[in-house]
């Protein structure tokens, strides 16, 4: 049995399935047909129903995946065949030529300006914007150049320019250009396969009927998303074909079978109004049914933002004056007309991705009549395909929102993990051993400073040489280097090779997305990651002061000065290791709870299921045959223990280390678990006098009685209490099959914790100065992680004193306690008051 999994498709579902599997001890080969990862989520501007910035949300995940040694991204590649059986598949993968060696390319972009072949429409922007014949496909990983063979002079004619070598070859110091590349087929060995190929807009003649391709300023939803996106061809400014900003925009939802198209239109209309409050926006739709409460709330917000909803059928368009579009439609048989609109956005039906049909044919998996992946006749499990050991998730099954795609990806991961449980940990490599230089807090600081140009993002605006010269003049800064893209780690490791430094200062992009990457490179150079400080020159200087390069450069100097002062005072810290109790508790014998417990037990993990009904037959009585089969399967597994006629008593503890009391007819029993899943239904009565786990675990319910969890589309199963998850009817109303998938998704979240012997946590947490703390308790309520406990202690003379205790495992290092303490008795490691004040004082110094 092979402990590796092939994931096909690197959109949100494929990426999430990959990270879930790695978390559970499996190696992943992530094959993506496009040259970069991220899928549609990286192309759109904002997501419903959270209205989060899509690329900002997905970027850290992409970098995490790109830097994980146990995820092998095979981009610009296609799966040609899969032979073998579950547990032992052989996969043939065709790698397409990019004519650039990705192992050599460091994304310096020196080849771009010298390429004489320009005006290449940008495929990532759906034809909008232009690049050279050598370019990046998108701003996302893997960030490697790519040559478009149909536009490259050298590949077309065997010659480019007057010299012997083409200009790009001459410009590339790392000799990465390779015109000899041909398609190459390789073979992978994996135990299971997950398909996550997503969906595409269906472009049919229907689009042309509404003027698409004929009338200017009629475009599709995804094309409009690229105009809204800050990383799109217009930098997030919506423009018509003539470059003017539209003041009137209408959407037409062409697919009423699901709510996805409608919600997409609502999100885009909201995004338009957010950017231009004077814009008038209409969403034309045909009685779209919205069943989900969170979607209804989002629609209400859109209405409050003056998005107008127009029930309409028989929609037609004609070309108006000045690039406008005349729209006619009927409502209940009455013909109406919208005023001319400046832009008309069509929201087409979503269909399986173009590659899905080819993939299904190549690997012998059935598709349903609509082209989505299908299962064997008689098999009702949603994520099964017609071939055992090959699972499917996300929009490859049917169009769905990102939150649902993420849940299914987790479920698919739990299926693969259950199948390969005997091979867990056999294919992964352990994290590289950290070998640090012997650096102590007392050593005089010696700072290596790196200024990243971030392509044109920073280098295109700041006077980068002046900034480098200034940075070199700062105390303890002994070397300054410039780099086109520091995130590749080449320059930083080159600097640290001398072993002459004990601190690193990086001026670059946002630490929110890239701090982890630079921390890894710093560790690779032998320096503790907490001795690295990152200054955000991009967001804080060039982006917000893009019209004033001189002032932006002056601000950059101030920020680098502050960074240098701070990093000089930073201390080497060690990660926190949290031991894990290798078992889980599932509360509620609902279909979700049973499915969750079954997947955990099948993955060779210990699980306890607590159900208030008196016996399994009582639980089965209200369930479908499918759920009854799951219950029977669970009852046969030795590592699953089912407490029926029981309820939960007191629960205490934290991530990886909970203690729970089970109240059975025979008395109380205590169990130790590493993680907890709430799978009750929303009507379940509040916990009894035996103990209130909802209060003890800091869980909250909304007005509709469903549990409320962590915000964000990527966290549908997570609570804010680390190590506690929710699924099925505990979080929203859903059908039985969706509830089963939800439970299986929760099983994956849990398995990521309890399949480990210990969890590693950042040491950026709060520390109490006991000599100063008098136990006033002001810090307790503001702590969002419930990590602060008030304790009383004795003095020999009989007096009592108080202080607080911080739970290292729970503390998020947010600093709320530090901000509220009137005695300076608590600080966050590496954010000590003296470190912060040193930065503050340095602001007032002249550059």
């Amino acid at each position: 049995m092979n402990g590796s999994v092939l994931v096909v498709g690197a959109g949100p579902a494929g990426m999430r399935a990959s990270s879930e599997l790695v978390d559970q001890g499996f190696k992943v080969f992530l094959v993506e047909e496009k040259p970069t990862i991220g899928g549609k989520m990286a192309q759109i501007d904002k997501m419903f129903p959270s209205n989060e910035c899509s690329s900002c949300t997905i970027m850290p995940k992409m970098l995490e995946i790109a830097n994980d040694p146990n995820i092998n991204i095979i981009a610009f590649s296609e799966v040609q065949s899969i032979t073998g059986k579950p547990g032992d598949f052989k996969v043939k993968v065709l790698k397409k030529p990019r004519y650039v060696d990705p192992m050599r390319c460091n994304a310096c972009t020196d080849c771009f300006p010298v390429c004489p072949a320009g005006g290449v429409p940008m495929a990532y922007n759906l034809g909008r914007g232009a690049s050279k014949a050598i370019s990046f496909y998108s701003p996302f990983p893997p960030r490697k150049a790519l040559i478009h063979p149909e536009k490259c002079n050298y590949l077309l004619s065997g010659k480019c320019g007057d010299l012997e070598q083409p200009p790009c070859v001459q410009a590339c110091e790392r000799r990465a250009i390779d015109f000899s590349q041909k398609p190459v087929t390789g073979e992978l060995h994996v135990g299971a396969v997950i398909i996550a190929t997503g969906s595409d807009e269906l472009h049919t003649d229907r689009l042309t009927e509404y003027g698409y391709g004929k009338i200017p300023n009629v475009l599709t939803s995804l094309e409009y998303e690229r105009l809204l996106s800050g990383l799109g061809p217009t930098g997030g400014v919506v423009k018509r074909d003539d470059g003017t900003a539209p003041q009137t925009v209408a959407w037409y939802v062409m697919d009423n079978a699901s709510s996805i198209g409608f919600m997409t239109a609502v999100t885009e209309a909201m995004g338009t109004v957010e950017k231009n409050s004077n814009a008038s926006v209409w969403v034309l739709h045909e009685n779209t049914h919205i069943s989900r409460e969170t979607y209804s709330d989002f629609i209400q917000k859109a209405q409050e933002a003056n998005v107008e909803f127009v029930p309409a059928d028989a929609v037609s368009t004609t070309e108006g004056n000045d690039g406008n579009i005349n729209i006619s439609y009927q409502t209940a048989g009455r013909k109406s007309q919208l005023a001319d609109v400046n832009m008309f956005v069509l929201v087409p039906t979503l269909a399986p991705s173009e590659s899905a049909q080819k993939l299904a044919h190549n690997i012998g998996v059935q598709l349903n009549p609509w082209g989505f992946f299908d299962k064997q006749s008689g098999d009702t499990h949603p994520i099964h395909t017609s071939r055992e050991g090959i699972f499917v998730c996300g929009s490859a099954l049917e169009p769905k929102g990102i939150d649902d795609a993420v849940t299914q990806a987790c479920a698919a991961a739990s299926h693969a993990a259950a199948l390969l449980s005997k091979a867990r940990g056999t294919a992964v490599v352990p994290p590289p051993e950290k070998k640090y230089l012997p650096i102590t807090s007392e050593d005089e600081p010696s700072i290596a400073a790196l200024i990243c140009k971030c392509g044109p993002n920073i280098g295109g605006l700041l006077d980068i040489n002046e900034l480098a010269e200034y940075t070199a003049s700062l105390p303890y800064v002994h070397q300054v280097e410039l780099t086109p893209f520091g995130c590749d780690g080449v320059k930083i490791r080159e600097m640290l090779r001398s072993k002459a430094f004990n601190r690193v200062l990086v001026g670059g992009c946002s630490p929110k997305t890239h701090e982890e990457v630079f921390a890894i490179h710093t560790e690779g150079g032998g320096i503790n990651r907490y001795l690295m400080e990152m200054v955000n020159l991009r967001n804080h200087c060039t982006w917000v002061h893009s019209k004033d390069p001189k002032e932006a450069t002056e601000k950059a100097k101030t920020l680098m000065r502050m960074g240098a002062r701070r990093v000089a005072l930073q201390e080497p810290l060690e990660d926190i290791h949290i031991p894990v109790s290798p078992a889980a508790l599932v509360i509620g014998g609902t279909p979700s709870g049973v499915a969750c417990a079954l997947k955990l037990a099948q993955a060779d993990l210990r699980v306890y299921l607590v159900e208030k009904e008196s016996g399994l037959n009582a639980v089965k009585a209200n369930q479908s045959k499918f759920v009854s089969r799951l219950i029977d399967a669970l009852a046969k597994l030795d590592n699953a223990r089912i407490f029926t006629g029981s309820e939960l008593g007191a629960v205490q503890g934290y991530l990886g280390n909970f203690n729970a009391e089970i109240i059975t007819v025979d008395g109380k029993e205590e169990i130790e678990i590493g993680s907890i899943v709430i799978a009750t239904d929303q009507n379940m009565a509040a916990p009894s006098d035996n103990g209130n786990y909802e209060t003890q675990l800091f869980l909250k319910r909304g007005e509709n009685k469903f549990f409320v969890g962590m915000l964000g589309n990527l966290n549908p199963l997570d609570f804010n209490t680390a190590g506690v998850f929710k699924c099925g009817p505990a979080r929203m109303e859903m059908g039985v099959l969706d509830a089963i998938m939800d439970g299986e998704g929760a099983a994956s979240r849990v398995a990521g914790i309890i399949s480990k012997t210990e969890l590693i946590k950042s040491p950026i947490i709060s520390v109490v100065v006991d000599g100063k703390c008098d136990g006033c308790a002001y810090c307790i309520e503001p702590c969002p992680a419930h990590a602060v406990t008030l304790i009383e202690y004795m003095q020999h003379d009989g007096t009592k004193k108080k202080t607080v205790e911080i739970n290292d495992a729970l503390c998020l290092g947010c600093g709320n306690c530090m901000a509220t303490c009137p005695k300076d008795a608590v600080y966050v490691q590496n954010f000590k008051p003296e470190q912060i004040m040193e930065m503050v004082h340095s602001v007032s110094e002249e550059a």
Binding site: C776, Y793, H796, T803, E805
Partner: protein, 63 residues
């Protein structure tokens, strides 16, 4: 000067600010503290015996 704080079984205990000369004396004090609802533990130092205590307060009153 002994440490104010000791981590015992993963929990934070605080010193009672006295060095006991014998184990029996320390144990007697521990029994008294435990009677008062405190968790208590004894640590041995070269100079004598140290007693550490703690009690979690759940009813919090801000002054």
């Amino acid at each position: 000067m002994p440490l104010l704080t000791a981590k015992i079984d993963g929990k934070k205990f605080m010193w009672d600010n006295f060095m006991y000369s014998s184990e029996a004396e320390a144990k007697e004090k521990i029994a008294a503290y435990e009677k008062d609802g405190f968790e208590a533990a004894c640590l041995t130092e070269a100079e004598g015996y140290l007693v550490y205590t703690r009690k979690v307060i759940t009813e919090i009153t801000l002054e």
